[in-house]
Assembly symmetry: C2
Homo-oligomer: 210 residues x 2
DNA sequence: ACCTGAACACCGTTCAAGT
DNA sequence: ACCTGAACACCGTTCAAGT
């Protein structure tokens, strides 16, 4: 029975805490959210969150888990509509990653920085992170075989391309792009263009492409 | 007269606060340092720091200023000993950047993330940041003219290479490298190798190099 | 001129007590 | 089973008072 008067038992407090933490985080832009403020916004006492999470770090782990799952799903969904050529799928992956980061900057910083939770304390975090990493490795290997990327050792080649996408996204959310005489209103376009500049620049010139 | 008994007037408290803030930051690895702890370690009262900095943010700005100057000096010094070819100087710049980041992880995160101070509130921060950025722009342009990098628009091409170096360094200090099956004891070597993999991969194949 | 230390409004976390 | 609310030990910041 949903009434306007809040009941003594919240009912779905655990999930509400995670959702509200995300809301507060993206709203304020600050990487550190106050557990007390989350509780306040949900109309529960300051001690209530600690019935569901032993610490703020634990709450942030849950937030990071959900964010990482959403990133993975976003990437996998975008790849379903992508062209079959490995090099094109690799570009799609990069664009997908950058777009997710720019649309969810605080969650992106949370999962990337790893300073507000323990990555290894989670069962799901490494799984979903690794899923995206494996996709990257496979696409880079396939693009190399197809001759669209120069041959090179794995995982170093894949790491470099991932770092490129990460660095571009990170420079934007860290507010560094303003110093690079780049149109901030089209940041996403600029970043994707910069990424593709490198990927295209890496294509080996082949004498006779069959 | 330096005595063991601390005098009422510290004398050089302002600079001591900055130095101690750096020490505490790199010691704890936490990006947020406690002003009270810095004061405690220096043997001054909790209110003393606020005679020199109006806020913690202001103290962190001073820390960021010094860190940015040191990064710039490190880069400029390393370039003095570098070979003359633009492409080699560009690699030196990248290696210099990565090395500084890995040896000063907390300062690197501070100046990069920009979440603990106001970048534009400083007179010197933009100057020194821009100095390194300008070096990058010049070297990329020169390497393109020399035919060691494919032609491409500036500043997008330079931004991409900077983002690559930034992303590689950042993945290491964020603790992401452990998931990339990379030998963490040789992280620096691996990162520089990954960077050079891209830079070398970008070299256009020329029919007859004069 | 510079520093002290009590004070204020916060915060994360605990835990007996309430429903 | 789940939540409250007082309590504790912190924190950033202020400011009258001390030297």
């Amino acid at each position: 029975m949903p009434t306007t008067k809040r009941p003594y038992h919240h009912g779905k407090l655990r999930q509400s805490l995670i959702d509200m933490a995300v809301t507060v985080a993206e709203e304020t832009g600050k990487d550190i959210i106050s557990v007390r403020e989350v509780a306040r916004r949900l109309g529960v006492s300051s001690g209530a969150p600690f019935r569901h999470f032993p610490s703020r770090e634990s709450l942030m782990t849950a937030v990071a888990e959900e964010a990482t799952v959403r990133l993975r799903l976003r990437v996998e969904r975008d790849l379903m509509d992508a062209p079959p050529a490995p090099i094109d799928r690799l570009k799609t992956l990069g664009r997908s990653f950058i777009q997710w980061a720019l649309h969810n900057p605080t969650q992106f910083k949370l999962v990337s920085s790893r300073n507000l939770f323990q990555f290894d304390s989670s069962a799901s975090l490494p799984v979903h992170f690794d899923a995206v990493r494996q996709i990257t490795l496979d696409l880079v290997a396939q693009a190399q075989e197809a001759g669209d990327l120069p041959p090179g050792p794995l995982p170093e080649s894949a790491l470099a391309l991932r770092a490129l996408a990460y660095g571009l996204a990170r420079m934007q959310v860290d507010g560094q792009l303003a110093q690079w005489q780049v149109d901030v209103t089209h940041a996403e376009t600029t970043l994707v263009a910069s990424l593709n500049l490198i990927v295209d620049g890496l294509r080996p010139t082949r004498p006779h492409p069959n």
